[in-house]
């Protein structure tokens, strides 16, 4: 009996020597897997050829990795030589944003557990929110009335969306499905009775969004795929494969053609997809950690992403590269959600350190920090007419700021 020492006791003994956390430090070193995306030059073409040839001759992965690292360094040098003008230099001529006086205007209390997701209705005042205990509540944010409440049969309802017509809501989570609940004016009606199961994934649902009408639903899942569904029949119209890890978020393009969407996942990639063909048309991998949220710029030809590494980045689709990084040394906790203001000048980002930062998109500096939540901010969305934005948090409340 005396000879039995638990693993813990062994650790305690080992602590006497090298500090335990210093030992783990070396195990934690990972190679830098940053990928820069755009450099024009004959250098890159020839290097690419060399890389392909090396692969053919059966060299080991380690040597190829070394070679790719050295190539990346050369590319960075070449790019510096081109004297690329940075976003904030060109934006110097743009006047500064005057001090914003954003305050909490409404606090929506009613969820008993962490609020995971929310979405605005097109009427600019109603919103739907979903929480960890399975409750989905439709609020009139302006009057603070709770209009409808549905209890889902599963917990962790991580995705919810309001239909463009305002007549239905879609939600899903750990049940691997996305269900559409038609809303009614009758308060006493049991909404769960009319529930329609639309999407069926093999793992948890992380995001859902209606397209331009109530009839189609776009979903993203923890099984690494996104899918487009027909609401009436529940038929799978198109599936999108390409992520190698959980897809955490998606956003539809606001363009007149409305045929593309962007998704971000745990594989640090943000992929742009063509809804018609199911192809991955563009991919961006410059983040150091999981991408928690992606959101299109109002014009539709750029998008922002929020990641667990504490940075938010702006990517341009036409130039096919990262354009700006919104980061600060003092911000080390992951960003969970981003959204643009109506003009695209302001970027609202919610973080895991319970704060919301307001960034100037053009100049790249932080305009202000908003405090108020007592736990992680899980979702930030600007209202359809841009008059306010709502934030949902794990402290069970939602706040509307203006």
């Amino acid at each position: 009996m005396r000879g039995v020492t638990s693993a813990r006791q062994q650790h305690q003994l080992a602590e006497a020597g090298e500090p335990w956390w210093r030992q783990r430090e070396s195990e934690r070193k990972r190679p830098n897997t940053r990928t820069s995306s755009t450099i024009p030059s004959p250098l890159c073409a020839s290097s690419l050829k060399m890389a392909c040839q090396a692969l053919q001759s059966g060299e080991s992965l380690a040597t190829l990795k070394n070679e790719s690292d050295s190539l990346k360094k050369k590319l960075e040098e070449e790019r510096a030589k081109l004297h690329d003008v940075e976003l904030n230099q060109v934006a110097e001529k743009v006047e500064l944003v005057s001090a914003l006086s954003i305050r909490t205007r409404r606090v929506l209390k009613g969820h008993g557990n962490k609020v995971l997701c929310m979405d605005w209705c097109k009427d600019k005042r109603r919103l739907v929110s979903s929480s960890q205990d399975g409750k989905v509540i439709v609020w009139d944010g302006y009057t603070l009335n709770k209009e409808h409440a549905v209890t889902m049969p599963c917990t962790w309802v991580m995705a919810c969306a309001y239909a463009p017509s305002g007549c239905a809501v879609a939600c899903g989570g750990l049940d691997n499905k996305c269900s559409v609940y038609p809303l009614s004016l009758d308060k006493n009606e049991n909404l769960a009775a009319k529930k329609k199961s639309v999407a069926m994934h093999t793992n948890y649902l992380s995001g859902c969004s209606f397209t331009n009408s109530d009839m189609q639903l776009l979903t993203s899942s923890g099984d690494g795929t996104c899918a487009l569904w027909d609401v009436e029949s529940g038929q799978l119209l198109q599936s999108f494969h390409g992520h190698t890890a959980d897809v955490l978020s998606l956003n539809l393009a606001p363009s007149e053609t409305g045929n593309t969407f962007v998704s971000g996942g745990c594989d640090k990639k943000a992929n742009v997809w063509d809804m018609r063909s199911g192809q991955n048309v563009q991919s961006f991998e410059t983040h150091d950690s999981d991408i928690n949220c992606v959101k299109y710029y109002p014009t539709g030809d750029a998008f922002a992403s929020a990641s667990d590494d504490g940075t938010c980045r702006l990517y341009d689709l036409r130039a096919d590269r990262e354009v700006a990084v919104y980061q600060k040394d003092s911000i080390i906790f992951g960003a969970s959600s981003v959204d643009f203001s109506l003009s695209g000048r302001l970027l609202f980002a919610g973080y895991n350190d319970y704060t919301i930062n307001v960034w100037d998109v053009l100049k790249g500096n932080r305009i202000s920090v908003l405090f108020g939540h007592e736990n992680r901010v899980s979702c930030v969305k600007v209202s359809p007419d841009g008059t306010s934005f709502a934030s949902a948090s794990w402290d069970t409340s939602l706040r509307i700021w203006a």
Binding site: M1, S6, R8, Q9, W20, W21, R24, R28, R30, S36, T38, C44, A51, C52, K65, K72, D84, V90, S98, L100, R105, R125, Y142, T143, N145, W156, G166, C167, L174, L185, T202, N203, N212, S213, M215, Q216, G222, E232, A245, R276, E285, D288, S289, T299, D308, A319, R321, F333, S341, L342, S343, G344, R345, L346, V369, F371, D385, T387, I400, A402
Partner: protein, 466 residues
């Protein structure tokens, strides 16, 4: 004997990446540096003195300034790098004299090792022995739960617990108190009681292991040629921002006032669809782009009335019908396609659209086997036609100019405190979107009947009968 795991196997087993841990650890090491870091004091607790105690205020000054300091401090406590001595269940950093201590590195959160249920059971059993059966309610709950699920290991757990308890008794009192505090803090962070916000409470598991070395199959770099010079794309963004900056409620004041700020929803009632006079800002926004004009229903209605005057309404009607086909339900595609063909594309159709021969040929051929995107080519052609030609004519037309002249410019509201309070009490309920939707459906049905092509034969036979 089947051993059931506590959590069902969904294929997701790994905790989400916590990228911030490395940075925090570096900072924690810095803070505890004997020369340049924080100085701890001793604290008298009953009879014993506990070394290395710091106050919340002291820590705040050390890290950042102002409210940022409190936020950062709270995060350090929430992750378990620093633990409070007094209110051990509230993982918040208060900027006052409350006492905190640095957690020993052994108990720091790591990406790789998860706090196991077995270890928690051993801890609870040990605590049970020490407190002689009196555990806190949340601990009692966990204890009974683990007792059920880990019953097959319970002998081992109790044995470990008694061993550790005996080993603990052999230590000196201050060391024992410190170790107890540290362990308790560790488990509060990893198994937070209700109403405690711990940063290690992460949600659902993920599919990939964040600690695994990245193995990329092919080492080709994603390199694309730079299609545009970099400054050009920045200018595009700057141009967009400058165009819309007066329309952004966060940057320029809303006229008459932001409903969320003053609790007066005139702004919303002025901007609904069925309104006679539009505001100046709204009319100005229609001129920014064709997409803006179409997105605003009121603008679209105005554009429709302009097209009616020009007798070229079929383009917009076709575009709308094609949109309905694209975004509509799968079952209705065939019927909708047939109707569209009869109304817009068939030779001699009542609302025949003028598109080039090649597109027309491809579309008609595609309509033999209609699918969702069969009208894409024709729709794009018509849209570009409207965007490049009709839209600009609309902007120069008397209809639009009239609209601009009649546009309202509401006065900026200037409410006093008392008025604001009254507004807050009388917030209007507005119209429910379902009601609006039902009204629109009715109008659409009426419009469809009205614009249906007249059946000449039926008309003639009616006249004959008279």
């Amino acid at each position: 004997m089947t051993i059931r795991t506590i959590r069902p196997n969904r294929g997701q087993h790994y905790r989400p990446r916590m990228h911030c841990l490395q940075k925090i650890e570096a900072h924690m090491v810095e803070m505890q540096d004997p020369k340049s870091g924080l100085k701890g004091a001793e604290q008298k607790l009953n009879v014993t003195t506990i070394p290395h105690v710091i106050t919340g205020g002291g820590l705040s000054i050390e890290t950042h300034t102002g409210t940022h300091a409190e936020a950062y401090g709270t995060m350090l406590v929430a992750y378990g790098y620093i633990y409070p001595l007094q209110n051990h269940r509230k993982l918040v950093m208060c900027n006052d004299g409350s006492l905190y201590r640095f957690q020993t590195p052994y108990f720091w959160p790591t990406q790789k090792w998860v706090a196991e249920d077995c270890d928690y059971a051993i801890y609870l059993a040990k605590r049970n022995i020490r407190k002689k059966g009196v555990l806190e309610p949340f601990e009692q709950e966990h204890y009974t739960h683990l007792h059920t699920w880990l019953n097959h290991k319970w002998d081992f757990i109790v044995m470990q617990a008694t061993e550790q308890y005996k080993a603990g008794k052999e230590r000196k009192k201050p060391d024992r108190v410190v170790l107890d505090c540290q362990e308790r803090a560790y488990w509060i962070v990893n198994r937070p009681p209700r109403r405690t916000h711990s940063a290690l409470d992460y949600g659902t598991d993920r599919l990939i292991d964040p600690t695994v070395e990245e193995v990329t199959g092919d080492s080709t770099l994603t390199i694309f040629a730079l299609l545009f010079r970099f400054p050009l794309l920045i200018c595009r963004l700057v141009k967009f921002v400058n165009t819309y900056k007066n329309h952004d409620p966060f940057l320029a004041p809303c006229l008459p006032s932001n409903p969320w700020v003053t609790d007066n929803d005139t702004y919303w009632t002025l901007n609904i669809r069925r309104v006679d006079q539009c505001t100046k800002m709204r009319v100005e926004r229609w001129s920014f782009s064709f997409f803006e004009l179409l997105s605003d229903q009121r603008g679209r209605d105005d554009f429709k009335s302009f097209l009616k005057k020009e007798f070229s309404g079929e383009n917009l009607a076709f575009w709308e019908a094609a949109e309905e086909l694209k975004w509509g339900s799968a079952a209705a595609i065939a019927t909708k396609a047939a109707v569209i063909f009869k109304t817009f594309l068939a030779p001699g159709a009542p609302r025949w659209i003028n598109i080039d021969g090649r597109t027309m040929g491809l579309t008609v051929k595609g309509l033999d086997h209609p699918h969702r995107y069969v009208l894409d080519g024709a729709q794009t052609h018509v849209f570009l036609l409207m965007k490049k030609d009709t839209f600009f004519r609309y902007l120069k037309s008397p209809v639009y100019k009239e609209m601009q002249k009649r546009a309202l410019n509401p006065e900026l509201h200037n409410f006093s405190e008392a008025q604001l309070e009254q507004n807050a009490r009388n917030r209007s309920l507005g119209v429910h979107p379902i009601t609006v939707w039902e009204q629109e459906e009715e109008e659409r049905a009426k419009a469809a009947i009205a614009s249906a092509p007249v059946d000449v034969k039926a008309m003639m036979s009616k006249i004959d009968r008279k």
